[in-house]
C-alpha cells in the first residue's frame, strides 16, 4: 500500500491541476438567467434599487437579479478575487481608480447603446456632460456608465462654530491656512488627546482629497506626457510640511488614527466641526439625525485653496461606474446592460433619495438638481476640479502617497526625505506600467 502512496498523491495533484483553472460557467443561451449584481453598501440606494429590480423582473420574465452589497472598503478585494477566479459578478461598481484595471485587462463588456436606451454611441455620449465618459472609453468603446460623479466639499456644523465663539457664515475657512487656524480655535483637547476636532482629512483617499492641494501649489502627480511621477519638488515638500504641522507631532489638529470625521458629522455630538465629503452626505445626515438635518445648523462651503496657490484647483471628482462582466454569455451581457439602463433612467430619484449625481446633461440642468441644498457649491467646485488619477497602478500610487504623508505626520521623517522616497518609488511604479 505504501508503494501506491506516491503515485496516488501525484494522480491527485495532476487531476486537481487539470480542473483548477476552470473557467466561468457559461450560462445556457436558453432558459431563465440570474444576474449577480455586486455593489457597495448604501441604505438609501438599496431601497430604490430593490424596487427597480422588482420592476425589471416583472417586465422581463426569465431574468432574476441577485443584488449583493459589500463594505465600500472591502468590495475592491472581493471583486478582484472573484475575477481572478473567473467568477466575477455580472454587474458591479467601484470608483474608477479601482475599476480602470478591469478595462485595461479586457475583462468587461462594452456598452450596447441600444440595450441602455440610446440609438447609438454618439447619442449616448451626448447625453452626458463632457469628459465624464473619458475614463471608461478605450479604443472607441465605452465600458461603463456612471452611477455617480462625486466631488467633496467641506460640511460645517454651525453649532460647533457658535460654541467656539465663531460665526459660521463669515468665519468658515477659505484657505488651507485658515482651515488650520480655525481648527485650532474649534479644537478641544484633554492634554494631548483631542476630544473635539475642528477638521480632519479624508484619509485614506489621498488621490481625491490631497493631490489637488499639491496641484494648487504648482505640483503634479504625473507629468503631462505621462512619463514622470511626482512633479514639482517645492510644491510636494510644501504640502508635506503642511501635513506634518497638522499631525500629532506638530499642531496636533488630527491624525489618520482618529475615527473618520464624516462618520461622526451626522450625529451632531460636538466632536467634529468640519468634514470633507460629498453631496450624498446630506441623505445620510437626514437618515441618521433628521432633527439635525432639518435644523439648518449645517452648511457646505467650497474646497479650500492655499493662500499662495499658483492654480485654483478644487478637490478631484471620481465616478462610480456600473460595469458588466465581459466573460459571460452575450445574452447575460445584454440583460445586464438592459438592467443598468433601466436603473440609470431614474436619475432624479437617485438625486433626491440618495443624493448622488448622475452626470447627465438633463439632470445637471434640472430644477431638481438646482434646488438641492448647496448643489451649486458642488457643481462650481466640479468645474474647478478634474477626474481623479486612474491607471492600472492607481491603488499602489495612492498607497505611496499615504506612506509619505504618514511618515511625516506620524514617524517624524523630514518632508524632503519623504518626498525623495515617494518620487523614487512612484517613478519605479510608473516605469513598470
Amino acid at each position: 500500500m505504501k508503494r501506491l502512496l506516491l503515485p496516488l498523491l501525484i494522480c491527485t495533484l495532476v487531476s486537481v491541476s487539470l480542473f483548477a483553472n476552470g473557467g466561468q460557467e457559461q450560462a445556457a443561451e436558453e432558459g431563465p438567467i440570474e444576474l449577480v449584481f455586486w455593489t457597495h453598501e448604501d441604505p438609501n440606494r438599496t431601497v430604490i434599487e430593490e424596487r427597480y429590480i422588482q420592476e425589471f423582473e416583472a417586465a422581463n420574465p426569465g431574468i432574476t437579479i441577485k443584488r449583493v452589497t459589500h463594505s465600500s472598503t472591502k468590495i475592491q478585494e472581493l471583486v478582484l478575487t472573484a475575477f481572478a477566479a473567473n467568477q466575477g459578478p455580472d454587474i458591479f461598481n467601484m470608483s474608477i481608480e479601482d475599476e480602470y484595471a478591469y478595462i485595461a485587462n479586457g475583462r468587461l463588456s462594452p456598452v450596447d447603446p441600444k440595450a441602455v436606451g440610446y440609438d447609438n454611441l454618439t447619442a449616448l455620449k451626448d447625453a452626458y456632460i463632457p469628459k465624464v465618459l473619458d475614463p471608461v472609453t478605450m479604443d472607441g468603446k465605452i465600458y461603463g456608465l456612471p452611477l455617480e460623479l462625486t466631488n467633496w466639499c467641506i460640511y460645517i456644523n454651525k453649532n460647533v462654530f457658535r460654541d467656539a465663539g465663531l460665526d459660521p457664515e463669515t468665519d468658515y475657512p477659505k484657505t488651507w491656512e485658515e482651515v488650520a487656524d480655525v481648527s485650532e480655535k474649534l479644537i478641544i483637547r484633554n492634554g494631548d488627546i483631542i476630544t473635539r476636532r475642528g477638521f480632519d482629512f479624508r484619509y485614506p483617499y489621498y488621490l481625491v482629497s490631497m493631490v489637488p492641494m499639491v496641484e494648487q501649489l504648482g505640483g503634479k502627480l504625473i507629468s503631462d506626457d505621462g512619463k514622470t511621477a511626482i512633479v514639482g519638488e517645492e510644491a510636494w515638500i510644501e504640502f508635506l510640511n503642511y501635513m506634518k504641522a497638522w499631525g500629532p507631532n506638530g499642531r496636533n489638529l488630527g491624525a489618520p488614527t482618529y475615527k473618520n470625521a464624516r462618520k461622526l458629522f451626522n450625529y451632531d455630538n460636538n466632536d467634529i466641526a468640519m468634514a470633507m465629503t460629498g453631496l450624498y452626505q446630506q441623505g445620510r445626515i437626514k437618515a441618521d439625525d433628521p432633527e439635525f438635518y432639518d435644523s439648518g445648523n449645517w452648511m457646505v462651503v467650497p474646497y479650500p485653496q492655499f493662500a499662495n496657490a499658483k492654480n485654483e484647483v478644487a478637490g478631484c471628482y471620481y465616478g462610480h461606474y456600473y460595469m458588466v462582466n465581459g466573460q459571460t454569455s452575450s445574452r447575460r451581457q445584454e440583460a445586464a446592460w438592459n438592467f443598468i439602463g433601466y436603473m440609470l433612467g431614474h436619475g432624479e430619484e437617485y438625486l433626491t433619495t440618495v443624493n448622488i449625481i448622475q452626470p447627465t446633461k438633463k439632470l445637471m440642468e434640472s430644477e431638481t438638481f438646482k434646488n438641492m441644498p448647496y448643489s451649486s457649491v458642488f457643481s462650481n467646485d466640479m468645474e474647478k476640479g478634474h477626474i481623479v488619477y486612474y491607471g492600472e497602478n492607481s491603488a499602489k500610487m495612492q498607497e505611496l502617497i499615504k506612506q509619505a504623508v504618514e511618515s511625516v505626520m506620524l514617524s517624524g521623517v523630514s518632508s524632503e526625505k519623504a518626498y525623495a522616497t515617494l518620487k523614487a518609488e512612484a517613478q519605479e511604479l510608473l516605469d513598470e506600467e
Binding site: 500500500m1 505504501k2 502512496l5 496516488l8 498523491l9 491527485t12 495533484l13 486537481v16 491541476s17 483548477a20 472598503t73 478585494e77 478582484l80 478575487t81 475575477f83 481572478a84 484595471a101 478591469y102 485587462n105 479586457g106 475583462r107 483637547r189 484633554n190 492634554g191 494631548d192 488627546i193 483631542i194 476630544t195 484619509y203 485614506p204 499631525g247 500629532p248 491624525a255 489618520p256 488614527t257 482618529y258 475615527k259 497602478n393 491603488a395 499602489k396 498607497e399 499615504k402 506612506q403 504618514e406 511618515s407 505626520m409 506620524l410 514617524s411
Partner: protein, 303 residues
C-alpha cells in the same frame, strides 16, 4: 526488523486499513496544502498579474532577485522578526509562569484557565476591533496608563508612533494567545509524576528548587514545542496588522511579510511576486520546523 522481511497477513491487513483511514487526510492535505505550495512555487517564476488574461511571462528567479534587493521587502523581514521576537519570548515565559501558578492553586484553576483561554477562541477580526477601541486616543489604554503613571491627558500614540504601534500589535497577539499556551504547559506539568515532588519535599527541597530542578527540566520537550509553535504562529501574523493599518495606523513599522504578500498580490495585483514572497516565508518556516524536529528528538525525557 528488515524492511524486506515478509509481513504477516494480519499486519498487511492492519496496514491496509490504516492507509484507508489516513487517506482522506492525505487527500485533503494534498489538495489544500501541498498543491497550493507547488502552485505558488511555479507562479513565483513568472511575471503574472491577477486580472491579466494574457499568458504569464516566464522570468525565472527575477522575482526573488527583486525581493532580495528591495528595501520594502527587507523592512517586512525586519517587522516580522521584531514582532516575532517581541511576542514569542514573552508568550513563552509568561505562559510557563502562569501555568505553574495555576497548577499550584487549590481553588479557581478551571476559572482561570477559562479566563486566559477565552481570547484565543475569538476571531482575529473581533479581537482587533476590540483593541481598536481600547487604543483609540480617547480609549481605555490611554486612560489606564495615564492613571497608573499619573500623566493625565497624555496621548501615548498607540497607533501614531512607530514603536508604539509595534508594541500594540505584540500586546494584542500576546493577550490573544497566552491562554492557549498556558493550557499546553498545564498539560505538560500534569504529566510529571507527583511522586518526584514528594520525594524532593522529603529531601528538603524548596518550591523554587523543585521548579528549577524538576519542573523545568522535565518540561523541556513542552517548552521546545511551545517555543516553536508560538514562533511559527508569530511568523504568520496578519489580521491584527492588517486591521490596524485599515484603521489609520502607519503601515511601515508593522508591514510584516504576510501583509506585504497580501498587498502585493491583491492591491498591486502582482501575483508572481507575491508567490515568491510566500515561498521565502515558507522556507523560513520550514527551517524552524526542521529545528523543532531536530531539537525535540534529543530532548526526550524519561522518569
Amino acid at each position: 526488523m528488515s524492511r524486506h522481511h515478509a509481513s504477516s497477513p494480519l499486519k498487511r491487513h492492519q496496514d491496509r486499513w490504516g492507509m484507508i483511514f489516513v487517506l482522506p487526510a492525505i487527500l485533503f492535505f494534498s489538495l489544500f496544502s501541498f498543491y497550493p505550495i507547488i502552485n505558488a512555487l511555479f507562479t513565483s517564476l513568472f511575471r503574472k498579474k491577477v486580472l491579466s488574461l494574457k499568458p504569464p511571462t516566464f522570468i525565472g528567479l527575477e522575482n526573488y532577485h527583486y525581493l532580495l534587493t528591495s528595501a520594502d521587502f527587507w523592512n517586512s523581514i525586519r517587522a516580522t522578526i521584531v514582532f516575532t521576537l517581541g511576542t514569542f519570548i514573552p508568550l513563552l515565559v509568561a505562559s510557563l509562569i502562569l501555568a505553574v501558578l495555576i497548577t499550584q492553586m487549590r481553588r479557581g484553576q478551571k476559572f482561570l484557565q477559562m479566563a486566559y483561554y477565552s481570547p484565543a477562541v475569538l476571531s482575529s477580526v473581533v479581537a482587533a476591533a476590540i483593541w481598536l477601541l481600547i487604543f483609540d486616543p480617547r480609549g481605555l489604554a490611554n486612560q489606564w496608563v495615564n492613571f497608573v503613571m499619573n500623566t493625565p491627558g497624555v496621548d501615548h500614540k498607540w497607533f501614531a508612533d512607530a514603536t508604539m504601534v509595534q508594541m500594540a500589535t505584540m500586546l494584542v497577539y500576546f493577550w490573544k494567545y497566552v491562554g492557549y499556551f498556558v493550557i499546553i504547559f498545564i498539560s505538560g506539568i500534569a504529566s510529571i509524576p507527583p511522586t518526584l515532588y514528594e520525594a524532593a519535599r522529603i529531601d528538603g527541597s524548596s518550591s523554587w528548587q523543585s521548579f528549577w530542578r524538576i519542573t523545568l527540566p522535565l518540561l523541556r520537550p513542552t517548552v521546545v514545542l511551545v517555543s516553536i509553535m508560538s514562533m511559527l504562529q508569530c511568523l504568520k501574523t496578519f489580521s491584527t496588522q492588517y486591521l490596524f493599518t485599515q484603521s489609520g495606523a502607519p503601515q511601515g513599522p508593522i508591514n510584516v511579510i504576510t501583509m506585504n504578500i497580501y498587498n502585493t498580490g491583491i492591491r498591486d495585483q502582482r501575483i508572481g511576486r507575491a508567490s515568491a514572497m510566500s515561498i521565502i516565508l515558507f522556507a523560513i518556516m520550514l527551517f524552524f520546523t526542521w529545528l523543532q524536529f531536530s531539537t525535540s528528538k534529543s530532548d526526550e525525557v524519561s522518569y
